[in-house]
Symmetry: C2
Subunit: 405 residues, 2 copies
């Protein structure tokens, strides 16, 4: 009999968002009069920029004509998009990355998941806690996480707690870590990292022979003077891979495009990780649709930039409304300045799920329990700025009224 | 120091198509007067069907309006597309597959590569020889292929030779195989399989506890009464996974959409492979662009069907021109009836590469040496029907003239 990958059977079903959906459904059935505002979802709601739509329609027409039809493209992405990326996201910030170090993909979820293919199963993996679950689950599938213990932690992972006590900044692990996942600005805490803070990680990685897997999917929401890319940090090209996405930057969650930067200087025992990732992608991937790549290119046009900046400003304004409104209502809040996520401390020692129920019942607002992102998320709660301004304002008014009554 | 996946370093660089490109470049530089016709490429050249282009442009517009914008879609694909697939590709042929057994993806290359994630490294893998290189290389990356021996064969793989002697039909392996890759109609040989032939494989798999990974990417080119899907075979739902693609069916090589069928009846030790693949896809993939899924849906509309059938008929006519023209010129030819590939025996005991050079120099026609697809491809040569009719005719005339002179 053939054998399955047993690691899959060790992973608990991810009930977080289905649990939320079930509780909301049960509540709305019992209280059909109550309108519910959803600020739990990590998905954008504003439409694609007109420049992007026009570019994609033009590309559709090209695909319909013999003279301009495109078949297989380069697995790594078309040169027009790799050039636009490297010029706008790197050279414009004085970062020396070349176009052939950019690998265009269908999104950061795929890439942060698939990157494990090029690493040995023996590596010790470090993750923040709370964390984006993909980093944990994909390593569990690959056998790098070991077994799940009774506290809900994998016994081979190194967890780096991020709580109010340490300002949501993970501490350099005591135990040596080979592969370190960092995400700044952070999902779910909304925390950011300074140049000095990130330099410490790069120094640690170079001293210890670790590789940093740096997820900067929320880079476009940065408003303060902090690093947009790990490659702004001295030495990072010798120890880091960076993941970027058009999902939150330009509303591409349903359009699917992102990219991964693997510097050619990053090697392990003389083997180039750029060559390994290139081999992985050319063998298991066939590139992003031409139409979508033309849409992503248009994000960098002057009109595209203006349009996506307006949308990001819209979400950041929502974040401000939520953050300041919650603070006024007496909550302790974090994030929402360089990120679309507001992370709040649940009041009166409530658990994340107790607060979820209370918020839904008293204010008709749905968010995400922090414990769903990892054990250290217990006692926290995530709201997102991706709704409409109208709903964000209404949600805050309701929460403020609920607190007063 | 972190460790890489050492299996990657065992895989030879795939020089086939770059070797071809280099030889062609060197030849054309030396003979600038000679025009070259390329019949080596496995990529389509005809534009997308108008129905597909219109559907995608409409979807682009929807993405640009707040009321119709779509963010994250279901990782498994939108229901509208899964329903269209199951009704047209399965129910219409009397095959009992349900929509939630369909996983929409960015193509069969990704899926045939990624499917390995859900299987143990211990499985014995069987592949046809010659073969689509993705099956071999992805198993080598996962550690299932062992080491490459001096003859260019991996020592843990079971090779099933497909040559003129056995009518390009792989024989049931003597050694037990856990995972068996089959592709019919076949790339590169253009061979097809009968109902009886495929029933033998399903019976073998069920008796031996094997899983068949069935690639039917070229199903749309079938002209005879042979199976379009492995699920037309009794018992296949207990032992097979099927991969399909819009790439060759509807010219989607640059538009990227395919799907994989994992029947719920397929289990291993009580574990559902459908559940495992669902877990893999929801964790490491975020779905196909909404725009592309609307394009794929339009393939099944009455106009879409008419348009893609015309294009397939065009390619099949090319195949006939090439096949019959080569036969007239005295070559022994195979394939080209239920597949866009013509597989020919090199004359006079020439190696595949000797014939490549001769064909380029004497006729200005470029094809693909059969040895590039595996050791048993030596002495064979692949031409494809994906060029223009004009070039297909001209190539045959040149070859016939070259043979006469």
């Amino acid at each position: 009999m053939f054998h399955i990958n047993d690691n899959f059977t060790k992973i608990p079903q991810s009930y977080l968002f289905s649990d939320i959906a079930k509780r909301v459904a049960a509540y709305t059935q019992a209280h059909p009069e109550q309108s519910i505002i959803r600020l739990g979802i990590g998905d954008v709601t504003r439409p694609l920029a007109p420049a992007v739509v026009e570019a994609m329609k033009k590309a559709c027409d090209e695909m319909g004509r013999e003279e301009t039809f495109r078949g297989y493209g380069p697995e790594q992405g078309y040169d027009f998009l790799r050039q636009a990326i490297v010029q706008n996201d790197y050279h414009a910030r004085g970062i020396d990355i070349s176009a052939d170090e950019i690998f265009v993909s269908d999104g950061a979820k795929s890439d942060t998941g698939n990157i494990g293919d090029i690493f040995s199963r023996d590596n010790v993996v470090a993750v923040c806690d709370p964390v984006y679950p993909v980093y944990v689950d994909t390593n569990a599938m690959a056998g790098r996480a070991g077994n799940l213990n009774v506290e809900g932690r994998w016994d081979r992972l190194v967890y780096m707690p991020c709580t109010a006590e340490n300002g949501f900044a993970p501490a350099i692990p005591q135990k040596r870590a080979d592969m370190i996942y960092l995400c700044f600005p952070n999902n779910p805490t909304g925390a950011s990292i300074t140049y000095e803070g990130l330099q410490q990680w790069v120094d640690y990685a170079r001293e210890n022979g670790s590789v940093i897997l740096f997820d900067s999917a929320y880079e476009a929401f940065i408003t303060e003077d902090i690093p947009h890319s790990i490659f702004e940090i001295e030495g990072a090209k010798q120890c880091a891979i960076e993941f970027r996405s058009f999902s939150k930057t330009a509303g591409f969650t349903g359009t699917r495009c992102g990219y991964t930067v693997v510097p050619k200087e990053l090697t392990c025992g003389g083997v180039s990780l750029h060559a390994l990732w290139n081999r992985r992608q050319t063998t298991k991937f066939n590139g992003v649709p031409y139409i979508v790549q033309r849409g992503a290119e248009a994000v960098y046009s002057p009109e595209g930039q203006k349009q996506i900046r307006e949308t990001i400003a819209y979400y950041l304004h929502n974040a401000k409304v939520i953050r300041e409104g919650l603070a006024e209502a007496g909550f302790t809040v974090y994030g929402g300045i360089n990120a679309p996520y507001i992370w709040l401390k649940t009041p009166d020692g409530m658990t994340s799920w107790e607060f979820f129920d209370a918020l839904m019942e008293k204010a008709g607002v749905v968010g995400t329990p922090g414990s769903g992102f990892g054990p250290s998320g217990e006692g926290y709660f995530r709201l997102t700025a991706f709704g409409s301004l109208e709903n964000s304002i209404k949600a805050i008014e309701r929460i403020q009224n609920a607190v007063r009554n």
